[in-house]
Structures are given as structure tokens and as C-alpha cells.
Symmetry: C2
Subunit: 313 residues, 2 copies
């Protein structure tokens, strides 16, 4: 495939086109993924999530600059699961573009929620696999907000940073929001504000309440706008990678993710098969109408459709 | 089924047990749903979402009190999609419990995310169907946060309230977060704070930017702690219901929801069938290992599994 070869040769425009096809799930995108998947699995995938307004974008830009100084190539994938209908790019993007513009070692690919067959986490995983395969050393997935969709997205990362800011009541909210459990590393950004130490103490207290951890997440303080503390974060990201490798967790995670992914895709493929096989028979419309009219519960209706395609042995 | 009959007769403990079985997706729960589904479809389902800290719980309590004064029975379903691992109940619940405690016309059923087969939106829809079937006039689904999961949950409602508060930069965030599109009614709570009028203007401006609407959502101001403005919200909720009935949107929504629901359940049922049929063959493990080792892309692996169970015609 020409687009794949050009992307592998470092053609950024070709890479952009390829990613769009992968994102859209076109036949060409699938084929590209098939070709590129065996080349993936080398990159360190870092998820960055946290409360809105915590300065995630700025922090990610600073981390990217630091990685570039270490001669590592970087891809940034901002993900906005909360804009299902607008599908627009993220706010901070234009600013970041300027900072990192012109550096051939940095590639940025925004993702927005869409009514695709696969969920956003799945599509993001595909995009990450391609960015990985074409040779990026570090891929940073950056989310907005703190909902379940964000948690799903960051679960595909090797290392997850949770970014919080002092002085927002929302911090506790964020921790309640399941983020506590996914964090490999806490970053308290805007740490020049009052309350940074208090917040660090609160995080430690909440961690202490939970189950004992093999590796309690470090808590680091940064001021992303000035770059303060960013080097320490980079060091911890590297330390976490070494931990994953040495504890064999990297292998275990890859297996878990492969299982989840394959089953999810099988589910979707089966549904497509179902729609195709039922197409024109009118059975689907019949069942939907019965459920809408409350004559039938949705489970029984679904079971009838499945039986029609794949009779019980 | 005895539990169903007791729940229909108004036994609250039986209803609680029944809902737990429905939530857990047990065989008994499915059977209960099958029996009760034809009795559902009468209740007005109201979704309440918005930024954390906007006072949603207090507002919902006040709305419930107002509905009770109008002799209507009420169920409240607080949903917390952001606590996938803790699975705990919501913060405001204990306070609310006290306010409404002892009123047999109010039933509260909390929902937390779980690693269930169906998603939270699906399970919530089942729970709502049961609460509807046993005779609640109004069912209020209340979410925390503003992510995609929340949007999915409120999509199952007839009428969606988006609650915002003045003076948080987060408000704009919330609107960006796809909530603008799902709102049937905006409520600016804590409207005694500075900035309520500014916020109302901002919402109006954002609505004006979007596509023309058949029924632009009204924007109401409340102070839920004192009850101020709550009557007007109740009146608008009723007005929206009348609009849905008169514009035939109620029927159309029911059909759309039935379709989405049946297809989603068929997908899950097919996957269960797949797992069962592949069980012991080792094919699943083989494919997962190949994907984890990056020898194979997940799409090809999934396709092989599907072919094994349901060969292409």
C-alpha cells in the first residue's frame, strides 16, 4: 500500500491521510492496520488525564519539548470524548501547534467522539498502533474531562498521569471519579497556587485508604507554564516504563488489552453479520416495533434476532 | 414471580430486591423485566445532568417534593458512571434520604458503573422500566459529571435538564461537552450568585450559534436550597412532556430507543454465544496471544473468531 510506505518513509501528509482512514474504519484503513500492526509495540504510550482547566495541554507540550531534547520522537493524541456532536478539535491545540510547529519529530493527531462502530477508546488504540508502527518513541494520549470515556481511553496507555490543580473542589471529585485507581503518577500542576501541599496530602490520604499497591503512584508538583518540575515528571515516566518491563507487567497488560480488543471487535463483527443476514427480512423492524410498543421486552427481542441468525446448537 | 407481584403491590423491599436482580442481570431479573416491560411506558422520565457542584441533588430533591405536593409518585435514580471501581453511592444521598424519608411515594435507587455485560446506560434503562412498570409517575435520572457516559444515560430520558452554576469557568466546558445538544431545559442554579444573567446570556448565544431548533430550551433560574424557581422548573418539565406528546416525538423517541437497545443486546447475546461455542477450542486464546505478540492485528483475529462460529454464507 503506497500510503503505508510513504508514512513509513516519514511523509507526514501521508501519515495524516492514513490516520484519517484508520479513524474512519475504511477498508483501506483496515488494510493499513493489518500491515502496520506487526511493526507496532515499541512505543511508550502515556495517557494524560485530569480535571478540565488543570493545564494538561500545556503540560503535554512541555513534556513533548523535554522528550525532543532527549532526541525522542513524540506523537500527541488529544481526545475529546465529550464532544460527540460537534466533533471539533480541542481548544488548546492551536497554541500548542505553534510551540511545536516545524519540528518533524512531533506529530499531533486529534480525536473526537463519533458515531462510529467502534468506541472512541478502540479507534484511539488503532491510531496509536499506527503512530507506534511508523516509529514514534513516545505517544501521549491527552483527554479532556474525567468521565468513564476518559478512563476507557487512558486504559489503553502504559503509563497514566492524572493532572490536578490546587484549590478546586473538583479535585476530590476527580479522585472519586475512578481516576485514583488508574493513576500511575499524579501531577499537581499550577503548584505555585495556594493549596498544592494540601492537595498532595489529600491524595496520599486517599491512596492510603485503598488497597495496598505494588507501586504507589508518585505525586509530583509542576508549573507547566514555566516548565518547573517537568524534568522530574519525565524521569518518573521513564521510571514507570522500567518498572513495567522489569515486573513483566508490560507483557501482562498487552495480553489483557489484546483480549479485550479482540472480543470487542468480534462483538461488532457479529452484529454487522447479523444486520446483513437479517437485512430485508423485516424481522428487525418487527422486533423493534414490538419493543417500542411495549409488547415485548428488549432482551426477548434481541434473543429472537440472534436465534434467527445463529440457532442454538 | 412472587417478587414481581409483591413489588407491584407496593412492597418497597421487594422492589429493591427486584431492582438489584435486574441490575445484576440475573435470570430472575430478566424474567422480571419480561413480565414487567408491557406494563411500562407510562412514566415521564426526566434526566438531570450538569457540572459537578451545581447542586443537582438538591434540585432533584426539591423537584421531588414539588411533585409529591402534586400527588405524583416519584422515583430518583442517581447514576455515577465515574466510579467504576468503588461502586459506591453518591455523596448527597444521605442528606436527600432524610428529606424524603418516610414518604411512600418516593423511591430512590442508586446506580454505579460496574463491569457488567451491558453498559450503565443499558442497565439504567432496565431499572427505569421496572420503576415505571410498578407505577411511578415521574422518574428522575440524576448524573454526576459531564462526560460521554452521562450523555448516554440522559439520552434514555424524555426530558433532559442541564444544570449549571454561575461563576465557574466549567460552565462553558459543560456546554462544549455535548450537553448543549441534549438539553431540553437549562437550569441555572445558585442563581443568587453573581453572574447568573451573564451565564444565561452565554447559553442563549451558544444556542443561537447552533442549528435552528424546533423548540429552543428555556433557561430558568433557581436557588434550590431555598426552593426558589423550582415551581417554574416543574411547570416547564410538564410543558415539555406535552410538547413531546403533541409533536409525536414521544413515539419517535420510543422507536429510536427500542432500535438502539435491541441491537445493543443482540450484539451482547451474539458475543456470549461466540464465547460459548469457542469455549475449550483454544482458538480464542490462540488469537489473543497472536495479537498480544503483535503477529496479528485485532481486526483479523476477531474476523477469524467470527468465521469459526458463523461462517460467511
Amino acid at each position: 500500500m503506497e500510503l503505508v510506505e510513504r508514512a513509513l518513509a516519514g511523509d507526514r501528509r501521508a501519515l495524516g491521510q492514513l490516520l484519517r482512514r484508520v479513524e474512519d474504519g475504511t477498508a483501506e484503513g483496515r488494510e493499513a492496520l493489518r500491515l502496520l500492526y506487526p511493526r507496532s509495540g515499541r512505543a511508550h504510550v502515556v495517557g494524560v488525564t485530569g480535571t478540565p482547566g488543570s493545564g494538561k495541554s500545556t503540560l503535554v507540550s512541555q513534556l513533548a519539548l523535554g522528550l525532543r531534547q532527549r532526541q525522542r520522537t513524540v506523537a500527541i493524541v488529544p481526545v475529546d470524548p465529550s464532544s460527540p456532536l460537534s466533533g471539533g478539535a480541542l481548544l488548546g491545540d492551536r497554541i500548542r501547534m505553534q510551540e511545536l510547529a516545524g519540528d518533524p519529530g512531533v506529530f499531533i493527531k486529534s480525536m473526537a467522539a463519533r458515531e462510529a462502530l467502534g468506541g472512541l477508546a478502540e479507534t484511539t488504540a488503532d491510531v496509536v498502533a499506527v503512530l507506534d508502527a511508523v516509529g514514534h518513541d513516545v505517544i501521549m494520549i491527552e483527554t479532556v474531562g474525567v468521565g468513564q470515556a476518559e478512563v476507557d481511553v487512558v486504559r489503553t496507555a502504559h503509563t497514566t498521569l492524572v493532572v490536578l490543580v490546587p484549590g478546586l473542589g473538583d479535585d476530590i471529585q476527580a479522585m472519586k471519579a475512578g481516576l485514583l485507581e488508574v493513576a500511575d503518577l499524579f501531577v499537581i500542576n499550577k503548584a505555585d497556587r495556594e493549596g498544592a501541599d494540601t492537595l498532595a496530602r489529600q491524595i496520599r490520604a486517599m491512596l492510603a485508604l485503598g488497597a495496598p499497591m505494588d507501586r504507589p503512584p508518585p505525586i509530583l508538583l509542576t508549573v507547566a507554564t514555566t516548565g518547573q518540575g517537568v524534568e522530574a515528571v519525565l524521569a518518573e515516566i521513564d521510571a514507570h516504563w522500567r518498572y513495567l518491563v522489569e515486573s513483566s507487567q508490560l507483557v501482562r497488560r498487552a495480553q489483557e488489552q489484546a483480549r479485550r480488543r479482540v472480543l470487542e471487535l468480534a462483538r461488532t463483527a457479529l452484529l454487522a453479520r447479523l444486520s446483513r443476514q437479517l437485512g430485508g427480512s423485516g424481522l428487525l423492524e418487527e422486533q423493534v416495533a414490538a419493543v417500542a410498543a411495549r409488547q415485548l421486552d428488549p432482551y426477548t427481542a434481541a434473543e429472537r434476532l440472534v436465534e434467527a441468525v445463529l440457532p442454538s446448537p
